[in-house]
Symmetry: C2
Subunit: 122 residues, 2 copies
Amino acid sequence: MQTLILFAHGARDPRWAAPFQRLQAILQTRLPAVNVGLAFLEFMTPDLPGLVEEAVAKGSREVRVVPVFLGQGGHVLRDLPLLLEQLRSAHPDLQLSVAQAVGEDADVLNAIADYCVGDLGR
Amino acid sequence: MQTLILFAHGARDPRWAAPFQRLQAILQTRLPAVNVGLAFLEFMTPDLPGLVEEAVAKGSREVRVVPVFLGQGGHVLRDLPLLLEQLRSAHPDLQLSVAQAVGEDADVLNAIADYCVGDLGR
């Protein structure tokens, strides 16, 4: 089984997680054969190592991590690679790879631009 | 003149700002009659008060702020309203309003989902 992990920052306010949970639900519906999870860097659980352990325990041999971050700073460019390095050492047989952050995708930026244009037109 | 301010978190790493700057450029092209700005909560400049001052100095009577945040936590639900309250006191004649955060828009989430599905298919 293939696992897709949405990796988000996390926050103290529980309301913060809502759009990420909606995204997870959309993706689980669109990808019924894939195990779609949501992990957080801080403040919320599960964290990425915990969710990778769980995926391995479920029998996943392939995990793709998508950073659901608009900007790529220290969290995506430094913290995440470090976490992945540790996970690769702990699970040498696991295929563990990471996508570009969602903010790097032109269609995502265009959808945000559409939202802004529509909002001004209201 | 109407002003649209994209309001983002900011980060220590200067590379973090790139997608927000691309979004600003897309919107300035799509909305040539609107003054499109980009302000940050922390770590980067300009901040929101500074950019609102600048918009007022340029003659803007109407400023719309769009939080370019996926999740709405303390920054969007507490820090931003406080900033807006202070700006409204300082500029009682300014029409200053705020949109829902971009992560609340279904089409934005669907674009992120499309990106994830396409990424897995690679």
